[in-house]
């Protein structure tokens, strides 16, 4: 297909640790089209960040094994040299992390940090880079960009710093923006501003976006498709509507039902999931959710369910005892 931007097949990332191999991502496959926004959700430790970084080709050089394939606009990331990857970073794909301070240099003016990218990557001269940097600051909604160009990261609020990081990510017009928990830790009103900004930039710049988050609220109205991860694997995927309203995998439902809702009455009893996510170094042959699952049967403990197609377009779930479909019910 011509509008396919990213193809991920059986992608697996294993860390060699003192305690043995840790399969952080255990064989993930999905596609992403141009101009699409995909959400990747799951609790902490489910492998979202490792998956995103593996797709970017950002991995520690030692103690990690990556297998499978991640093709970004025809470029195979898995096994590519650092130099080859540097050719796609920024122009094909750029990443925004949760903590903007990890991406910013605290002792360098923010304008300079954007200039540097423009001059090194795009070969702009000093004056052109400065003009473009101010344009980018304006694009991401930083008030008085000409003055802020001279500010240090520490002089900005968390929300403003995240805007600067987004500006840097956009400097070389990437086709894919990966945002890993871009609003986690920000206040709700600032979170809404940043998510609206990402929406606007996506249409304005014709990008694809992967929105990685533990917060189902973040993806509910801002993505067209969702991947739900548990213990390093995709347990359900489909259109955002199918995942929210016609989920078949018990974990997806449990995740949705355990979070309190603004619209529910106070003192509504929450549907908590017993236990906690498994230790990845002690995964069994069965379904990783089995020890916590109300529907688990003997087979679940013995054999891992593969993703199985459901009725909805692109909808698939990994479960031996799926919940009944709600399609056609209403």
């Amino acid at each position: 297909m011509s509008d396919r931007l990213l193809e991920v097949r059986d992608l697996a990332t294993t860390f060699a640790t003192a305690g043995g191999p840790l399969p952080a991502v255990g064989g993930v496959s999905f596609d992403l089209n141009q101009n699409e926004t995909l959400g990747i959700v799951g609790e902490s430790g489910s492998g979202k960040t490792v998956l995103s970084r593996t797709i970017m080709g950002l991995q520690p050089r030692t103690n990690v094994t990556v297998s499978g394939s991640a093709r970004l606009n025809g470029f195979e990331v898995v096994g590519a040299s650092e130099e080859a990857k540097r050719g796609i970073w920024g122009t094909e794909v750029a990443m925004v992390f949760q903590d903007p301070m990890t991406s910013l240099n605290p002792v360098m003016r923010i304008g300079k940090q954007i200039d540097e990218v423009l001059r090194v990557r795009l070969g702009m001269d000093k004056a052109a880079a400065k003009a473009r940097a101010i344009e980018l600051l304006e694009l991401v909604g930083i008030p008085s960009p000409v003055e802020r160009y001279r500010a240090y990261p520490g002089q900005l609020s968390g929300g403003m710093r995240q805007r600067v990081v987004i500006a840097i990510a956009l400097a070389c017009s990437p086709k894919l923006l990966m945002a890993d928990e871009p609003t986690t830790g920000l206040d709700v009103t600032i979170q809404a501003q940043i998510l609206n900004l990402l929406d606007r930039l996506k249409s304005q710049l014709q990008m694809s976006v992967i929105l990685v988050t533990h917060d189902l609220g973040v993806v509910a109205t801002r993505t067209s498709r969702i991947i739900v991860m548990y213990a390093g694997r995709v347990v359900e995927t489909g259109s955002t509507r199918d995942v929210f309203q016609n989920h078949r995998m018990p974990y997806t439902r449990a995740l949705l039902e355990s979070s309190p809702k603004v619209a529910s009455h106070s003192h509504t009893r929450l549907q908590a999931i017993p236990g906690r996510p498994p230790n990845l170094m002690k995964l069994t042959a069965g379904c990783a959710f089995a020890p916590r699952c109300a529907y688990a049967t003997e087979r679940c403990h013995r054999e891992r369910p593969e993703l199985t197609a459901a009725e909805g377009p692109g909808h698939a779930f990994a479960c031996w005892n799926p919940l009944p479909t709600t399609r056609g019910a209403s």
């Binding site: 609790e43 902490s44 008030p143 609020s157 929300g159 403003m160 206040d187 709700v188 009103t189 600032i190 979170q191 809404a192 501003q193 998510l195 609206n196 533990h214 917060d215 189902l216 609220g217 973040v218 509910a220 109205t221 955002t240 509507r241 929210f244 309203q245 449990a254 995740l255 949705l256 355990s258 979070s259 309190p260 809702k261 603004v262 619209a263 529910s264 009455h265 106070s266 003192h267 509504t268 009893r269 929450l270 549907q271 908590a272 999931i273 017993p274 906690r276 996510p277």
Partner: protein
């Protein structure tokens, strides 16, 4: 106030100012509220609005610079020495970071017994029995885990241990400051349900501080909304969330992300960021971001006023009143 119940905690004109005389940071700027026996009062607002400082000032972990805090009729702000320490056992506080608020090198049962040991209030046998009982109550098997060290536990389990410790002295009031904010939703739900159960079992009164609006609504009977050191609005949870009267409450609720595909896509986003508490705006502190602000809002501070039974708002033009005009 029209509420016939007597408050367990009565906070009046509480203020806390940090910084220097020349550069004062007005973190809590004269707030008043009551917490009734057996209820949960939620305290929400964005970071830096003064929620934690309010909790700590009630505990006198930070010294209030003005106002009074009465617990069961006794003013905490003027007590000293042993009397203060005794009064303090009546209130306990649980913090956000479960792991760092417990000593990693101590055994779980000793952590839970800390307050008992400190007051030397019980014999060895009694201590053992109480600790076992408390740990069981929070869902931690004392026989399996009692002798382990805190560092061996996950965030959710540490929070259970913090709860057990906070209950050891049978407090009347529990102040929970962002106690589930660092936890994953599945674990968060376990802790919130546990808190509801223990509240009923121990007859606790809660001041529940958090920035997450859905979490706060879930546990609270009433909710107070703070902005830049002031209370904007207090009311019964369901009313306040359905019909907010203060413009800030409305924006805050509008920005909350609901895990629902059909939730309205946010149109009205509050622009800008809160001003610095070093230099708060005159009059209404929200006026620099409020779409309804008038000259009166700059010159005259709106006081917290009751507009319906149990529902107070600090705004010259409460929303429903505005709509009626």
């Amino acid at each position: 106030m029209s509420d016939p119940r007597t408050p367990l905690l009565k906070v009046r004109d509480l203020s806390v100012t940090f910084g220097t005389k020349r550069h004062p940071v007005s973190a809590v700027a004269g707030i008043s509220f009551d917490v009734y026996e057996g209820e949960t009062l939620g305290l929400v607002g964005e970071s830096g609005c003064g929620k934690s400082t309010t909790g700590k000032a009630i505990m006198r972990i930070v010294e209030p610079t003005g106002g009074t805090v009465e617990l069961e009729g006794r003013d905490i702000t003027t007590e000293k020495g042993r009397a203060l320490r005794q009064l303090r056992t009546r209130l306990q506080m649980i913090f956000q970071d479960p792991i760092s608020s417990l000593n990693p090198r101590r055994r779980v049962k000793d952590i839970v017994a800390e307050p008992l040991d400190c007051w030397k209030s019980v014999t060895g046998d009694e201590r053992e029995r109480l600790v076992q009982d408390l740990l069981s109550k929070v869902g931690i098997d004392p026989l399996v885990y009692g002798n382990r060290y805190a560092r061996q536990f996950s965030g959710g389990q540490c929070q259970r241990i913090s709860i057990a410790r906070s209950l050891a002295m049978r407090p009347k009031l529990l102040i929970c400051d962002e106690m589930v904010s660092a936890l994953d939703v599945s674990v968060q739900a376990q802790i919130l349900n546990l808190l509801e159960d223990l509240k009923n079992e121990y007859g606790l009164t809660l001041l529940f501080i958090a920035h997450d609006l859905a979490v706060v609504k879930n546990v609270s009977d009433r909710v107070a909304v703070m902005y830049l050191g002031k209370i904007c609005e207090i009311g019964p949870s369901d009313t306040l969330y359905e019909d907010p009267e203060h413009p800030y409450t409305k924006f805050l609720l509008g920005a909350a992300l609901e895990a629902d595909v059909d939730s309205p896509v946010h149109g009205d986003v509050l622009e800008g960021e809160p001003p610095s508490p070093l230099n708060p705006p005159s009059g209404c502190r929200f006026r620099t971001r409020c779409p309804n602000a008038t000259e009166k809002c700059a010159s005259e501070e709106p006081l917290l006023q009751e507009i319906a039974p149990g529902h107070q708002v600090a705004c010259h033009y409460p929303l429903r009143t505005l709509a009626r005009r």
